[in-house]
C-alpha cells in the first residue's frame, strides 16, 4: 500500500516535468527555422524616453488585458466543480514552477517562427512572458472568490429564479472584484519585473531587440551613461507611481464595496498605503488625486452596469452558444496540447540523442552552487523581513511608517536596477558572486515582506492584548505568539519568494557589461551561456529542466509539508 502511494506520487511529480520538458524541446526546436533578426539600433537620448516608456507600457497593457480575460474564464471554469478543480488548479501550480525568464528565449523562437520571421514575433514573445507572470494569480483569485461566495447569497439569487446570465452579472463578477483588483496590482508589479527582464535579455544579443525602458537602461549601463540611466529610472518610477495613484488606489477603494466579509481596519489599511503617503503631502493634493481618479471608478462602475440584461429567449440562446464555445475552446486546447506534447516528446528524444557537450558535467555542481546562492539570498531576506514584521505587530506607528515605503519601493521592478547593481559591484569587487546574490535578493525579499506584513495584521487584537496584560517578556511574546502566528505567512511567502528568486537567478549569474561577459558557476549562467554563446539546445533544455526539478522537489518535499503543518497547527480559528 505504502509503496503504491509512493509510486503514484513519483509519477504525479514526473509526468508534469516530462510534459514541460517536451514542450520546451518543441519550442526550442523552432530555433532552426528562425532567421537572425536585426533589431533597431537603440539610441539612448533623453528625448526618446517617452517613446520607450510608451512601448513598454503598451506591452504591459496588451498582456494584462489578455491575462484578465483568460483568468476570469479559467477561474470560473475551475470553480464549476470538483473535477475541473482537480485538473485546473494543479496545472497552475506547475505553470508557476517553471522559471518563466528561462523560458523566454524558447518563446522568442516559437513566436518569431510563427510570425514568419517578423520582428512582431519578439513582441508577441514578450507579451506572452508578461502574460504568464500575470495570469496565474489572477485566475487563482477568481477561483477563490467564486468558491467563497456565501451560500445564502447564491441561494437568494436562485430563489428569485435568476438565470446563469444574471448570476454571472450580479453575483459572480462583483464577487471577484476585490480579489481581481488586489491581484491586478500584484500582477502589474510582476509584469513590470518580467517586462524589464525580457527587454534586458534582448539587449544582450543584438538580434532580438525590443525598444523599451529595460533595453534603454541596459544600453545606458553598457555605455556607462550615468545621467541617462538615472533619467530612465526616474521615468519608470514616474510611470509606476502615476499608474498606482490614478488607477490602482481608486480602484482598490472602489473594490472594498464588493467585499462579503465586514472586517474593518486591517483590510482597508492595506489598500490605502500609498494614498496615506500622498495624504502626508497635504489634504488638497490628496483630494485632487481622488477627484482626478473619479472618472476611472465611474467608468469601472459603468462597465459593470453596462452588461445588458437579456430577455429569456436570447438568454437561452446566448447560454447555449457560450457553452458550445466553451467546449469548443476546451477541445481545441486539449487537442493542441496533446499534439504539442506528442510532437514535443519526439523533439525531446531527438534533442537528447544529439551528442552531449562536455558542459553537461558541470550541471550537478552548478545546481548546487545556484541553490547555495538562493539559500544565502533567502537567509538575508528572512533576516531583515522577520524583525520588521515582529516590530510591525506591536508598533502601529512603525507599521504606518513602513507600509507605504515598502509598497513604493516594492512596486519598482528590481530588474530595472540590475544594470546599476551589477556595474557597481563589479567595479568594487571585480567579480559577480556578491552581485548575483544581491540580484536574487531583490527578487525574493518583497514577497516575504508583504506576506509577513499581511500575516502580522491578521493576529487577533486580543492575543496582543493578552501578551501585554500578562506582561509576557519580549522573548516569550516572540517565540510563543508572534513567530508561530507568522508561520503560515512565512511558508506562503517563502514559496513565492523562491519562485521569484529562480527567475532573478537566471538574470543574475551572467551579465554582459561593456563587451565583457561576467559569470559565475551556476544553472542560470549555464542556461544563458548556452542561449547566447553556443546555442546548444541540449544544454538549454538540461539546465532549465534541472531548475524545474529542483523547484518541484523543493515544493513537494519542503514547502508543501511545511504548508500542511502550518495550516494544521499554526492557524487561528
Amino acid at each position: 500500500m505504502e509503496q503504491k502511494i509512493n509510486m503514484r506520487r513519483i509519477i504525479g511529480g514526473a509526468v508534469p516535468i516530462l510534459i514541460v520538458a517536451a514542450l520546451l524541446a518543441l519550442f526550442f526546436g523552432f530555433r532552426n527555422y528562425v532567421p537572425a533578426l536585426h533589431g533597431p539600433r537603440l539610441s539612448i537620448t533623453a528625448h526618446q524616453l517617452p517613446y520607450y516608456a510608451f512601448c513598454s507600457f503598451n506591452r504591459m497593457l496588451v498582456a494584462y488585458v489578455i491575462a484578465l480575460v483568460f483568468s476570469i474564464a479559467y477561474g470560473m471554469m475551475a470553480a464549476r466543480g470538483r473535477m475541473w478543480e482537480r485538473i485546473m488548479i494543479p496545472a497552475i501550480d506547475i505553470a508557476q514552477s517553471v522559471p518563466v525568464v528561462g523560458f523566454f528565449p524558447a518563446a522568442v523562437y516559437f513566436f518569431v517562427a510563427l510570425a514568419h520571421g517578423s520582428r512582431l514575433g519578439v513582441e508577441i514573445a514578450a507579451v506572452f512572458l508578461i502574460f504568464t507572470s500575470q495570469a496565474w494569480n489572477l485566475a487563482l483569485g477568481v477561483f477563490e472568490s467564486i468558491r467563497t461566495i456565501p451560500d445564502d447569497s447564491r441561494e437568494a439569487l436562485e430563489a428569485f429564479g435568476s438565470s446563469g446570465w444574471l448570476r454571472f452579472r450580479k453575483l459572480m463578477l462583483p464577487a471577484c472584484v476585490p480579489k481581481l483588483v488586489y491581484n491586478s496590482i500584484l500582477s502589474w508589479v510582476a509584469g513590470w519585473y518580467f517586462l524589464i527582464a525580457c527587454e534586458i535579455i534582448t539587449a544582450g544579443p543584438s538580434t532580438y531587440r525590443l525598444p523599451g525602458l529595460g533595453s534603454f537602461l541596459m544600453e545606458a549601463a553598457n555605455r556607462g551613461r550615468n545621467s541617462e540611466m538615472v533619467l530612465g529610472l526616474l521615468t519608470l518610477l514616474l510611470v509606476i507611481v502615476a499608474m498606482d495613484l490614478v488607477v490602482w488606489q481608486p480602484l482598490a477603494v472602489w473594490a472594498e464595496k464588493f467585499r462579503y466579509e465586514f472586517t474593518s481596519g486591517a483590510e482597508a489599511e492595506r489598500s490605502l498605503g500609498m494614498l496615506n503617503a500622498i495624504g502626508m503631502l497635504g489634504p488638497s493634493v490628496y483630494r485632487a488625486m481622488r477627484l482626478a481618479a473619479r472618472p476611472l471608478t465611474t467608468l469601472a462602475q459603468g462597465l459593470l452596469g453596462a452588461i445588458p440584461p437579456l430577455d429569456a429567449a436570447t438568454r437561452e440562446r446566448a447560454a447555449r452558444a457560450a457553452r458550445a464555445a466553451g467546449y469548443a475552446a476546451l477541445l481545441t486546447f486539449v487537442t493542441l496540447f496533446s499534439y504539442a506534447t506528442v510532437r514535443g516528446l519526439g523533439a525531446l528524444v531527438r534533442t537528447l540523442m544529439a551528442p552531449w557537450p562536455a558542459a553537461v558535467r558541470q550541471i550537478p555542481a552548478a545546481t548546487l552552487a545556484s541553490t547555495i546562492r538562493m539559500i544565502a539570498a533567502y537567509a538575508i531576506s528572512l533576516g531583515w523581513t522577520l524583525p520588521c514584521a515582529l516590530a510591525a505587530i506591536h508598533s502601529a506607528r512603525f507599521k504606518r511608517w513602513l507600509s507605504p515605503i515598502a509598497e513604493i519601493v516594492g512596486s519598482m521592478p528590481a530588474t530595472a536596477l540590475f544594470p546599476v547593481i551589477v556595474v557597481l559591484v563589479i567595479q568594487v569587487t571585480g567579480q559577480m558572486n556578491l552581485a548575483s546574490i544581491l540580484l536574487i535578493l531583490t527578487g525574493m525579499q518583497w514577497y516575504l515582506l508583504f506576506n509577513l506584513l499581511a500575516g502580522a495584521s491578521q493576529i487577533p487584537a486580543e492575543l496582543k492584548e493578552f501578551a501585554r496584560s500578562y506582561r509576557l517578556s519580549r522573548w516569550a511574546t516572540w517565540t510563543k505568539l508572534d513567530v508561530p502566528a507568522l508561520v503560515p505567512s512565512i511558508v506562503t511567502g517563502s514559496i513565492t519568494a523562491w519562485g521569484g528568486g529562480w527567475n532573478a537567478l537566471i538574470l543574475s549569474e551572467y551579465f554582459v557589461y561593456r563587451g565583457q561577459t561576467y559569470k559565475v558557476l551556476g544553472l542560470g549562467a549555464l542556461l544563458d551561456a548556452a542561449t547566447y554563446e553556443t546555442g546548444n539546445n541540449l544544454m538549454i533544455l538540461l539546465s532549465l529542466l534541472s531548475m524545474v526539478v529542483v523547484v518541484v522537489s523543493l515544493n513537494r518535499l519542503v514547502w508543501r509539508r511545511l504548508y500542511n503543518l502550518a495550516t494544521e497547527r499554526y492557524r487561528f480559528d
Binding site: 501585554r468 496584560s469 506582561r471
Partner: protein
C-alpha cells in the same frame, strides 16, 4: 480608601476627521471585595474602560489609582479574561496557563503547580494536554478563566466573558464563577466585569455601573441588594433589570 480609583479619566482616539472621544472625564471608586458589572450600549467605551484599569490602554488624561498609588503601565494585581478567550491555538491547555504565569518568573515547578491547581478548580482535569481547538467554547473560556486565576490576582477583569457562548453554557459558567469567587481560599476578592447582557449584570454583581454612549459617561451607579443565589424569575430581579434598561434607553 477605595481599592481602585479613577480620577477624571478621558480617552480619545485619533481619526481621519479629528479625534473621537470614547470616554469623557470618568471618575469612580471601587472597593475591595466588590463584584462590579459595567453595562451600556455598544460603543460606550466600557471595554476601553476595562483596558485602562488593566493598563493595556493609557488614558488620554486623568489618573488611575490602586491602593492610593498612581498606576502607570500594566497593573500586576489585575488579570484579564477576554471575550474571544485569547488562547494560543498551538499551545496545550496547560502550556497556555503556564504562559500566563511567565511574568512571575517563578520556578517552572511552581508554575506547573499553579497551573494544575487551577485546571482542577475550573473543572478541566483530564484536558491538560488538549489543544484549545479540540475544546468547546465553554471549555475554552474555562481555560481563559484558569489562566487568569492562576496569576492569583487581587482584581479579576472580565471583558464580556460569556458573550461568545450559548445561553445554557453561560448560565453554568456564571454559577461556577460565583462559587469560585465566594470560596474562602479565593485570592480574587474583586471582580470587574463588562457585559451587555443586563440580566447577567443583575444576577452577578453587587454594583452596576451604567455607561452612556458618545462619549462614554457614567449615568447610573446602582447597588444590587438581592440575596444570593438570585432567582431570575423573582419580582425584585425583574424590576431591577427594568430599571437598568430604562437608564440605558433614555440616554441612548
Amino acid at each position: 480608601m477605595a481599592l481602585l480609583e479613577l480620577k477624571q479619566v478621558s480617552k480619545s482616539y485619533p481619526h481621519a476627521k479629528g479625534n473621537i472621544r470614547v470616554l469623557n472625564e470618568m471618575s469612580l471608586g471601587i472597593e475591595l471585595g466588590e463584584f462590579i458589572a459595567i453595562v451600556g450600549p455598544s460603543g460606550c467605551g466600557k471595554s476601553t474602560l476595562l483596558r485602562i484599569i488593566n493598563g493595556i490602554v493609557p488614558p488620554t488624561s486623568g489618573q488611575v489609582l490602586y491602593n492610593g498609588q498612581q498606576v502607570d503601565g500594566i497593573n500586576p494585581e489585575c488579570a484579564m479574561v477576554f471575550q474571544s478567550f485569547a488562547l494560543l491555538p498551538w499551545l496545550s491547555v496547560k502550556a497556555n496557563i503556564e504562559l500566563g504565569l511567565e511574568a512571575r518568573r517563578g520556578a517552572p515547578a511552581e508554575r506547573e503547580r499553579l497551573a494544575t491547581r487551577y485546571i482542577d478548580k475550573v473543572g478541566l482535569d483530564g484536558f491538560e494536554e488538549a489543544y484549545p481547538r479540540e475544546l468547546s467554547g465553554g471549555m475554552r473560556q474555562r481555560v481563559g478563566l484558569a489562566r487568569a486565576l492562576a496569576v492569583e490576582p487581587a482584581v479579576l477583569l472580565m471583558d464580556e466573558p460569556f458573550s461568545a457562548l450559548d445561553a445554557l453554557t453561560a448560565i453554568g459558567l456564571r454559577e461556577e464563577l460565583l462559587d469560585l469567587w465566594q470560596a474562602a481560599d479565593s485570592p480574587v476578592k474583586t471582580i470587574i466585569m463588562v457585559t451587555h447582557i443586563i440580566e447577567e449584570a443583575v444576577e452577578l454583581a453587587d454594583r452596576i455601573l451604567v455607561l452612556s454612549t458618545g462619549p462614554g459617561r457614567l449615568v447610573g451607579d446602582i447597588k444590587v441588594e438581592l440575596q444570593r443565589p438570585r432567582d431570575r424569575r423573582a419580582e425584585a430581579f425583574n424590576s431591577l433589570t427594568d430599571r437598568v434598561f430604562s437608564l440605558i434607553e433614555e440616554r441612548a
